[in-house]
């Protein structure tokens, strides 16, 4: 089903806002992770790891899920489809994998926050390189998805090819 132009613009706006918001939030996490690893003030180090869990719950997870949802709705409501073009499939896979890893990683955020909240834990124990690695990889993945969305490299799947030519036939290829 192809959405009318007003609905397409609304969904596209929501998708761009949530996806770019997610990208921006990941950049903030790269900064937080860097602060946690390099700051000399123990309170700042603990604060960085304490802030990650609620920030991820309140910002990263909702934006990731909304980006995924609006992306799927957007593709199904336009001629691009979800499985017709390779760039859409790649972008979907990147978003699915990044969201899945984020959801699994929430436990690690919780563990790091508990260690940071423990006043008896030494600062060397509080510091953790894992968020820097994960946030950097997430940033690369989301930048790649953004490039795909903007450049839309050519290439139809076999399914997309068949649907397009069936739709050229009068009465054929109803989704």
């Amino acid at each position: 089903m192809i959405f009318p132009p007003s609905a397409r613009k609304l969904i596209l706006t929501l998708h761009v806002v949530t996806t770019v918001g997610w990208l921006g939030a990941v950049i903030v996490f790269v900064a937080l992770a860097g602060i946690g690893l390099t700051a000399s003030d123990p309170a700042t180090v603990r604060g960085a790891y304490l802030a990650m869990e609620p920030a991820a719950q309140l910002v990263l997870v909702p934006l990731a899920l909304l980006s995924l949802l609006t992306g799927i709705v957007q593709s199904l409501g336009t001629h691009w489809g979800l499985f017709r073009h390779y760039w859409v499939i790649f972008k979907l896979l990147i978003t699915l994998v990044a969201t899945g890893i984020l959801l699994v990683y929430m436990k690690t955020f919780g563990r790091m926050a508990r260690v940071a909240a423990d006043a008896g834990a030494e600062i060397g124990v509080v510091r953790n390189a894992s968020p820097a690695l994960h946030a950097t990889l997430a940033l690369v993945a989301l930048l790649l998805a953004t490039v795909l969305a903007i450049y839309k490299p050519r290439g139809m799947t076999r399914y997309g090819w068949r649907k397009r030519h069936d739709e050229d036939v009068p009465g054929g290829g109803q989704d």
Binding site: V104, N128, A129, L133, R158, V169
Partner: protein, 61 residues
């Protein structure tokens, strides 16, 4: 009714990207197998356990 033209196949960028993705997945799986002899999940070594100092973890690998 006109015949459907033959499918031209996936473009080169798709094949290259798929190959890179496969290599990355393979490397990740190898890392998981090599670093995880006890059969724990990826969270065990992709994140440090509480009480493991960063420097100590890097030294011991």
């Amino acid at each position: 009714m006109a015949d459907r033209p033959e499918y031209p196949g996936a473009p080169r960028w798709v094949k290259v990207a798929a190959a890179i993705a496969m290599v990355l997945i393979l490397i990740l799986l190898l890392l998981l197998l090599l670093r995880d002899p006890d059969g724990h999940g990826p969270g065990r070594h992709l994140s440090l356990e509480p009480g493991v100092e960063v420097g100590a973890a890097l030294r011991t690998g």
